[in-house]
Symmetry: C3
Subunit: 436 residues, 3 copies
């Protein structure tokens, strides 16, 4: 089975589940992903304090519908689980169209889109429908039924650490969120990318860093995770990514970490610059801003983790965002596969980004006597190798990491890394440790 | 009486007085301004050493004229007090036109302008006249009479402090100069702006900072003031302005303090960016340079105070500068009122520019449970409030003051300040102290 | 004799010598230059370790030729000493054209150029010839004769220090290389410029700094020099230049030191900005990169000396580079004289670049009472002098050197320097010491 058809299958299984920030839809979804990535599932009891928040009651839903004046189902949750306001309290009542109206949500200038509406922390109920559906509602008596429950249960998240093969204590964080019902780019592409990225990383023979994967409901899940692992991450998180909105054909977007010039920022921007031409994709870079997704928590001032976000079209910038139009047709699995490739290239760049120290810093070392003078037949390639060798030796002064040297040399880090390692084998360089 | 007609009245009373850096013209002018701003007048005796300078003899003048060959007054000080070189020694002599010529000052390419010429520190006498007047002088014997006196008197300046209502020891300095005879933009607009700005600030119920107003003759007056209050200002001056050239319809100009990025610089530029569109005025910003007005003293390297200058058309950049053409018609009192408004907005921005510390820096605080989640009916306004709330909380890490956060958020500080204060009331922020 | 005809004479005497990185050709060349600059010649024995390198055997060559099938000389070293691979081991053998081919070097897309090829550290022999010559070789037996010797001799370099007249211990380094056989821009223009620059500097009555001139073979010579004087230079080198490629009509190029903002960088760029308009030459500035010439050694991370390179067309950027086309016709002695002028202006700027401290930093000092108020008849010139005086006084706070102040004032340092010195004579400034 190809990667894409396997992805398609997982996508199709995950798609219809009734997810929210707690509940069985979320648990089932995590269990499906466990087939790809060996997540440890944790439960955080309703009422647990996480920083300034309390984990809410667990929400589950069986069915929901709206019967029209003539008894037909005018809205049916079974057809699209966006039809109900997420976290709706149970309801079973009759009311006139006028009385019903405040409980209905549609988008007047997107007549075919069902909006995604939630109300986690305030008791409410409601139905979401397209503006077209809404306009077709005739006056009369309606029956609203929402068969949901709210009880003292728990919030579920999954995590998993792929260990470093080099005894390194630092980690690269790959965090994504899972709580939206049937929507594609935001959000199923995030967990799918994470799971398949896990598979690639776990298959690597050598991993310099530990890789921590987190799949949790947005905001409250990230907070719950940070309340347990935040101090650890402050100490060991070397670089991290919030994975979201990564499965459309749009250009790539990198949203910087709050630090702005952390290793994750410099390496990601370096890869975007040198790698995207190979995949015929443009990209843009935006500074951190305290809106968006879970970077709001990871990059809150108390944590300020070096966590960025590598996306395609960013949340909030496309009209299908948070509506039923963000569906299977809207996303592109080949684009998602492509994004995984960019992620892989980026984490490899972070792995390669050592800071070396030239052990013979007085004058140039003699390359010829060490067999290090490039001897390729291709003159152009030989000159380039020699040039990169010179850049690496000259700037390995402890103040430039390999990514910084690559930027100076105007060449990708993956061309410098093998040269640097050869110089290291010949004892012309040694690695020194640095901070993100 | 409207503000403009009141200003007009003061302008008309101040206009004809025979001002110089010392003397009765200066004293009378200060006494008129005292009707608006309760200045304490100080006298510094002639001969007093102020840093590298000595306060010169006091100069007073009763009359001056030049009689032509046929006995008529060809130049008459009573018609325009620019006709005599400021600080001219007394003279009463007859001489030929040829001998007179070295004592005459005109501007060849501005035929209708009487130039403003001074000679404070070198004994001289002379007449200033328009090039047209000069050309009409016929050969013959002239009688030059200057009825002036130079005696060991004193230099006068006025100051006044409007106290902080919050027990703050830091000050905002508003310094302007008064020594030019009948000229409008440079300089009567400066003292008028200061006096009316005083009135507005004194009327405020709350003032975070103390406001120190200084009205002194240019250069020697600023030096005399600094010789007495310089050490105090080095300690307590949080921000300051040299008020000059602020009453024409031209675009605004902000000349930065020598520090370049002091609070006064960042706040003034922020206000110019966000406020000038509301008053249909453009603006430009120039770096500090050691020419101009009293910033030469306040920003001398030993003091280096955070003092900028917010003007309309800057001194030296318009042809009417330092001539009789800088008259009542040249200035615009509505423009002056407008400039006062910009000054008010700017000092309010400096007052609002607290540095806050997020007291719940781990993750976002929960706004809803605190009633802080914006609930405005207008969605766009609500989203904006929420966005600004997020910016304030995220960047209140002790390293960004509110002006810096406003710049990051792309919104004016006066929209952020009420939100920040609401967050402070709910104990999500606390203020910390910083330096300019 | 004019400077240019004298240069021409030296050029013609140096041109034909059989130079390499060691040997009699190098020694003879240095002895000729000694007629202009009193170099101390040093010998470094073959086999001496210099950092990571060993001084190679000394190479000398008497003759070399290739006899064709009919016995005629098809390549003759006496006609052009580029015809033999520099450092060729001796050879005397007969071989077919096919067997000969691997020992021949030409450039296919430059059919008239003999390439410059060396093999210092690997035993080899070979002939260089134009592509046209190569194409005319007919099949048959060839006789290859290279009458060279390699023996344990020594490497020769020359140096010379022109002492400061002010007891200053810091130095300005002027380093150039000498090892290329008959080529003009790279490299005879370098030693010629250095020698004639010496003459100008030695003739000056006052020299703030010591001037260290170094003429050594490229790379190994610089390494040998640094192994003896590197620690001294780390301590005392205030600014330095690698002199090369300075005799064509092209625009000037300044390659920055590795530090990028050292005194040498700021002063050279300042001079290029303000002086090149006077000599109708454009210029460009490039950041340091670890390729090129002896800056590779002087700016290796262990030394990181403040050494830049002021050139015309940079090595590697013109097609004649490292071929027989870089000949007498390619260079321009008037351009070389011009480049010397720019060097002189630059070292004068470095000499003038004092850091002054305003001794009366509180307010402006009174210029008039000290006779420092400019009294020039030309108003524009007087205003400029006054402006520069104000800039110097205001920014002489210990954090701006004169070059930085000149950049702020938008005027060349040579206009500020006499003013600064006059202020110093009047005790308004004093010099303080700083580091490069």
């Amino acid at each position: 089975m190809t990667q894409i058809s396997e992805m398609q299958e997982y996508f199709d299984r995950l798609w219809p589940l009734h997810r929210s920030i707690t509940g069985e839809g979320l648990r089932k979804s995590l269990r499906i992903l466990k087939e790809i990535i060996p997540l440890n599932l944790s439960e955080v009891a309703s009422g647990t304090q996480v920083f300034d928040w309390k984990v809410p009651m667990e929400w589950n839903i069986e069915d929901a519908y709206l019967l029209g004046p003539s008894g037909e189902k005018v809205i049916d949750f079974q057809q699209n689980n966006l039809h109900v306001v997420n976290y709706s309290e149970p309801v079973n009542c009759e009311l006139s169209l006028d009385d019903l109206n405040p409980f209905l949500h549609s988008i007047s200038d997107q007549p075919t889109a069902i909006p995604y509406v939630t109300s986690y922390y305030k008791s409410r109920w409601g139905f979401c429908l397209s503006e077209n559906q809404r306009r077709s509602l005739v006056p009369g008596r309606y029956k609203a039924v929402i068969d949901s429950t709210l009880h003292a249960g728990s919030l579920t998240y999954g995590d998993c650490v792929v260990p470093s093969t080099e005894n390194e204590s630092r980690e690269i964080l790959i965090s994504t969120y899972l709580c939206h019902p049937s929507m594609g780019n935001n959000e199923l592409t995030g967990p799918l990318l994470s799971a398949f990225l896990y598979r690639k990383l776990a298959a690597q023979k050598v991993r310099r860093f530990n890789y921590r994967f987190v799949i949790a409901p947005e905001t409250i899940g990230a907070l719950a995770y940070l309340s347990k692992h935040g101090e650890h991450l402050k100490k060991y998180c070397h670089a991290g990514f919030i994975v979201t909105c990564c499965g459309t054909d749009d250009d790539l977007t990198y949203k910087r970490s709050r630090r702005g010039d952390a290793t994750v920022d410099r390496c990601t921007e370096h890869v975007l610059k040198y790698f995207t031409p190979h995949i015929q994709t443009n990209y843009s870079v935006v500074d951190f801003f305290p809106e968006g997704s879970d970077e709001r928590q990871y990059c809150s001032p108390g944590f300020n983790l070096p966590v960025g976000s590598l996306m395609r079209a960013m949340y909030g910038t496309y009209p299908e965002y948070h509506t039923s139009l963000d569906d299977k047709d809207f996303i592109s699995l080949p684009a998602l596969v492509n994004t995984i490739e960019v992620y892989m290239k980026t984490v490899q760049a972070i792995e390669a980004n050592h800071t070396y120290l030239n052990t013979k810093p007085y004058g140039e070392p003699q390359l010829g006597s060490r067999g290090l003078y490039p001897t390729l037949a291709n003159v152009r390639e030989r000159d380039k190798q020699l040039k990169l060798t010179m850049y690496i030796l000259n700037f390995s002064d402890g103040e430039h990491d390999l990514c910084a040297i690559a930027e100076k040399a105007g060449a990708p880090i993956w061309e410098l890394y093998p040269i640097a390692e050869k110089l290291r084998e010949r004892d012309l360089l040694r690695r020194i440790s640095t901070s993100p």
